[in-house]
């Protein structure tokens, strides 16, 4: 007799989800919120605080996209995903976009049928070791026990690195960053390896971060970026250009502090005007309001602000801009022009 709970739930699910069409943007607008896939918890990139409010660098991208669509950075449902579940969640439509330090690779783009919409962090795989182990190079790690998250590119890179250097290692597979941390701190593995940014973030959560060092070797290229399903180009454009808007905003000096002044009236700089919708019809071309970029920037600031606030040098994570500086300052962060 209690079968109806299921039917009730089915009705609810059916009413809420509806018959989704091919256009993700329409679905998101109809739903009134963006479903954004994030990690289950990586301080600085995406983690819930004690009240369950998500915060971080990847979270900032989600909020910017939500703000661009709705003008409201809180209209996001964060869906925690693991390395295993993230792609299925995206492919099955459970989430609209994935912003979970995911590496842009050929096979993910082509074979798994996803669309990477840009790079928000240029990363590379590094090694974290305790200082008292006395290791100064990853090539000294012959025979070491290495903790590694499963289902990521890192384990493939690791296998390649040790194989090409002809040294052996003992992998300890783990599911989540929290477990990796537990194993590493207990000494069950000598080395913890993942993206260098993730290592910095993990180390920041330690009781004595100073006792641990990052080895100089970066053994892979890990361009991390948000991704969407293949085939819905309109939706891909929204995510891609929201990210580009954040990057361009930093380049042009548009910040969360001055964005409302700059967008109040056309300025002298035509690109700023086009970006903020005081000139031209860029927003309408995307199917959004004219002030979409203004809202996205106002949500959490431009790219540089997001970086400094969540993972920059003044945070416990303490990452330098490095490769992630604007191209004008010798980095790789470069947005196509808004025109």
């Amino acid at each position: 007799m209690k079968k109806t709970v299921l039917f009730g739930a089915l009705t609810v699910a059916g009413l809420a989800a509806g018959m989704a069409s091919a256009a993700t943007l329409d679905d998101v607008k109809a739903r009134g919120s963006l479903n954004c896939g994030v990690t289950t918890g990586l301080v600085g990139f995406a983690s819930p605080d004690a009240n369950g409010v998500w915060d971080g660098f990847d979270v900032g991208v989600c909020r910017a996209v939500a703000a661009a669509i709705f003008g409201d950075p809180t209209a996001v449902e964060f869906v925690p995903t693991t390395g295993k579940t993230r792609f299925t969640a995206l492919a099955s439509g459970e989430i609209d976009m994935l912003a979970r330090n995911t590496t842009w690779t050929f096979s993910r783009d082509v074979d798994l049928k996803f669309e990477f919409t840009g790079v928000n962090y240029y990363d590379g795989q590094g090694f974290l070791v305790p200082k008292d182990l006395g290791v100064s190079s990853a090539k000294d790690l012959d025979g070491a026990t290495v903790c590694i998250q499963t289902g990521t590119t890192t384990e493939l890179n690791l296998a390649d690195f040790f194989r090409s250097n002809n040294i052996s290692y003992d992998p300890v597979p783990i599911e989540t960053n929290a477990e990796g941390q537990q194993q590493y701190l207990a000494g069950a593995c000598d080395v913890y390896t993942t993206d260098a940014s993730g290592l910095a973030s993990t180390r920041a959560a330690f009781e004595n971060p100073g006792d641990h060092v990052l080895l100089p070797e970066i053994i892979s290229k890990e361009p991390l970026g948000p991704l969407v399903r293949h085939g819905d180009n309109d939706w891909g454009d929204v995510v891609r250009w929201t990210l580009n808007a954040l990057i361009t905003a930093e380049e042009l000096g548009v910040t969360s502090a001055n964005v409302s002044d700059l967008s109040a009236a056309p300025t002298d700089n035509p690109e700023v005007n086009r970006l903020l919708g005081t000139e031209g019809e860029l927003g309408a071309m995307l199917g959004l309001e004219a002030d979409w970029a203004k809202n996205a920037i106002a949500a959490g600031g431009n790219y540089g602000e997001l970086f400094e606030k969540n993972i920059g040098e003044n945070t416990p994570i303490g990452l330098a801009r490095g490769l992630n500086a604007q191209w004008t300052e010798g980095g790789l962060i470069y947005s196509p022009p808004f025109r």
């Binding site: 709970v5 299921l6 989800a17 693991t82 459970e94």
Partner: protein
């Protein structure tokens, strides 16, 4: 003569002696210990070893619990307060208790809703569990699922209301047509219910207020022990009717139906629950019509229900097989058709025999709901392994958290199994 004797022999006692207590070794504690603890040499060794083990455990655990700290904000702070002494940091429990129970995204101002639903669960379950209670209470049991759904998920009241109305309409149609034929009543009822739900869906859409009385909560915000309870209760209640149908199908003499049921049951029982959860998580979406998306929690409920239905079907099949053949023959000789015989004669008896087995399956299933943490749902274990242990404040508190989780599960499972034993004793009376 006796007089003479008394006087002549001074050593003869004249008064009776008071009763002596039995020898110390044959009475009271000593006797009990000698019989129960030291009856033979191996027994004595076992006793001493056991006492030593108990002593070790108690001296290890007791100070740890007694010294527990309950009111610090982080592990580091707790360690400072303890200052090297043995003691537990129970403050992680006081700090994160609500998260352990409700998950980290259920709105805190609405915690009373699942709490109330939990308390009402006992009221709803009572008439099912204890037969002496007035049968009228069963009405509440019937309403409970809808009430609980409304309380926990919130949103407009019309959704559960129409679900209930559909059920009632279905039942009325069933009751009207069952006189003619069971099949007609059954299918008529199902069709009527479906039509009501269908229409209800549109009406709900039209009249649902923008600001419902209870704010709607998303399925993915469910978490903590509440999620385990939801999965356990919903899946067991859903799988009972399905299990009965499967068991009857497996006993049926129609070969095709029998084989469908056998293949289903054996397939589900042959694979671990975790692979079924993988199916829910990564595969099921491919088998649904393009564009529909079910909540993960709903997909998980579907798979766990299938899982427990297969096990319950086997338990009920055991109950059916245990009934004497005479019962089936007697039903036939009364001229009852299959549906009547099952409904009135066979199932009531078979289900009664199967109750302890069903309760065992239910307890096992409830424990197995922790497996959802493997597919990144934040149930009790998922909360502990995920957000709490990875937070900077509580990174490294294992025992306190896992102890709390064990205690929560132990209380529920032990309670249910004690109930099952009580029930078994009670039901056993009429067999003698």
């Amino acid at each position: 003569m006796s007089d003479m004797h008394a006087h002549s022999a001074a050593y003869v006692r004249t008064e009776t002696l008071p009763e002596l207590p039995p020898p110390a070794s044959e009475a009271g504690v000593v006797k009990w210990m000698r019989e129960n603890l030291f009856s033979s040499i191996p027994n004595s060794i076992l006793t001493l070893v056991s006492i030593y083990v108990i002593y070790q455990v108690v001296t290890f655990v007791f100070p740890w619990i007694a010294n527990g700290i309950w009111n610090t904000a982080s592990l580091a702070e707790c360690r400072t307060v303890l200052d090297g002494a043995t003691g537990a940091c129970f403050s992680v429990l006081s700090d994160r208790w609500n998260q352990l129970l409700f998950g980290f995204s259920y709105p805190p101002e609405h915690y009373w809703r699942p709490g109330l639903a939990f308390i009402l669960l006992f009221v709803a379950a009572a008439p099912v569990m204890f037969f002496d209670l007035p049968r009228k209470l069963l009405i509440f049991t019937g309403i409970y699922p809808f009430l609980a759904f409304w309380l926990i998920w919130g949103g407009t009241i019309f959704t559960p209301l129409f679900a209930l109305v559909g059920l009632i309409v279905g039942y009325i149609v069933y009751a009207r047509f069952v006189k003619q034929s069971f099949a007609m009543g059954f299918f008529g009822g199902v069709v009527a219910a479906l039509i009501t739900w269908f229409i209800g869906g549109y009406i709900t859409d039209a009249i649902a207020p923008a600001e419902p009385f209870l704010e709607a909560v998303q399925s993915r915000d469910m978490g903590g022990f509440m999620l385990n309870m939801i999965l356990g209760v919903v899946c067991v209640s859903l799988s009972l009717p399905i299990g009965i149908v499967l068991a009857l199908g497996r006993q049926s003499d129609m070969p095709i139906i029998k084989w469908i049921c056998v293949v289903f049951i054996e397939f589900i029982r042959g694979v671990p629950l975790i692979t079924l959860l993988f199916v829910a998580n990564v595969v099921l979406a491919y088998f649904l019509p393009p564009g529909t998306s079910f909540d993960l929690i709903l997909r998980v409920i579907i798979m766990i229900t299938m899982f427990s239905a297969a096990y319950i079907a086997e338990v009920i099949r055991g109950g059916l097989a245990a009934l004497p053949k005479g019962q089936y023959e007697a039903a036939d000789s009364l001229g009852l058709d299959y549906a009547q015989a099952m409904r009135l004669i066979i199932l009531p008896q078979a289900l009664k025999i199967s109750i302890p087995g069903i309760v065992n399956v239910a307890v096992g299933l409830f424990k197995d709901t922790t497996l959802v943490s493997v597919i990144s749902m934040f149930d009790l274990v998922g909360m502990i392994r995920g957000p709490i242990l990875s937070s900077t404040d509580w990174n490294g508190v294992y025992w306190e958290l896992f102890m709390a989780a064990s205690v929560l599960f132990f209380v529920v499972c032990y309670g249910i199994s004690q109930y099952s034993q009580w029930l078994e004793r009670r039901l056993a009376t009429d067999h003698r």
